[in-house]
């Protein structure tokens, strides 16, 4: 049976590693809607391992990332990977246009009247191109810079700016005129 000391140890590891593991899951998962499940499954497996053997705190993050990788693979179903490849980035003119913009695309400059941001976040998560919710999460929630996001997602900075700018424009057109505010 699980001992209390294992629970303390688990809590300590959870607190110290959660953000890094979450960032890893967001970057590597194929669908951001799986992120919560992957996180829970990862830490549940860690808990089971802790009850079976002694784990050293040294390299514990790498160890958990190993578990996470297996959980991500489990959630990778047929063709999800290729189906999220987008032709979005192929529009060279758009990329040049976005290149001229500052790195800090200000969300406040976009008029979004709908106040239910839970709904808007669900809408963003439902995008077929899953790079969109990933970029939004990393940029607005984790406060990563466009340069940092481009590095972790292995795409160019113009592409990131393009995704944010286009999605904000879309949100403005969809939720900015008040027509959908009672959906």
């Amino acid at each position: 049976m699980a001992s209390q000391s294992n629970l303390y140890k688990f809590n300590d590891i959870y607190d110290k590693t959660y953000l890094d593991i979450l960032k890893y899951v967001i970057v590597k998962c194929h669908n951001i809607n799986d992120a919560n499940d992957i996180i829970q499954e990862t830490y549940l497996e860690l808990w089971n391992i802790l009850n079976k053997k002694e784990l050293s705190n040294k390299n514990i993050k790498s160890y958990i990332i190993g578990i996470t990788n297996n959980k991500i693979k489990k959630h990778f179903t047929l063709l999800q990977k290729i189906k999220t490849i987008s032709i979005f980035e192929k529009n060279v003119n758009d990329i040049e246009l976005i290149d001229l913009m500052e790195d800090d695309i200000n969300i406040e400059n976009f008029i979004i009247r709908r106040d239910d941001w839970t709904f808007i976040w669900k809408y963003i998560k439902s995008k077929k191109n899953q790079n969109i919710p990933k970029v939004f999460y990393l940029y607005y929630q984790m406060d990563l810079s466009i340069k940092e996001i481009s590095k972790v997602l292995n795409v160019n900075e113009s592409y990131i700016k393009n995704l944010i700018y286009r999605t904000l424009k879309e949100l403005q057109s969809k939720f900015g005129n008040g027509e959908n505010s009672n959906d």
Binding site: A2, F136, Y140, Q141
Partner: protein, 237 residues
Amino acid sequence: MTNKEKLKNAIDKDINKTKNYNLVINNMDKGSNNKKHLWKLCFVPICLSILIIGIMFINQNRLTNELSQNFNTDEEQNLKLNINILNNDEIISLDTNVDIILDNNINIPYPFKYDGGEIIIPHDLDKSNTYIVYTNANKDSYDSLSYNVLYNYILCYTNDNGRNIKVAYSKDNIPIRDYFFKDNGLKTTTINGIELKIYQFENNYFTNFNYNNYNFDIETSNITEKELSDFLLSIIK
């Protein structure tokens, strides 16, 4: 509150450290409770497994005998497939506007049962689902009721380990996809006079062809080349 703060709050409500922690803790408890009653839970599945294995063993022997009597020549079984390997750059996704309905109770045209033949599916693909793909005649409407034009059917043979074969088919239409390949005059495979192109991306194979008045579009995942070859040979006779 700014838009950014509102978005952050919404995201935090959805992907939340404390909520995830509580769910992990709840599942830990379930795990330990389950262990106490593990022998009770295991008893019925073990008995069932023994019964199923027994039945499968008997059926396997019968099937092997039937196949050895009825299946095609050795030459066909050793068919060499000319596979076109794809990389990311050669696959383009498309936005498709369709409604896909899962309905395992509906009677749909079954494209395989001709000349008394049966298709050869790997034995572990023990689940099958039937989907019907509808398109929208009115392109300006996104109302689900306006998706009422029957386009094609999909039979999906699958298991819990991520192995599956999806067969999309239609007599009137080329089954719809939401991606296409950059075709550079690639290698072809001929099976019983039917020429087809087979593509591979990672563990997935794709092919499409017309046979017996049906347009077929086949996607597989985690299926071996031999299993694909057996499957295609069992369709194209």
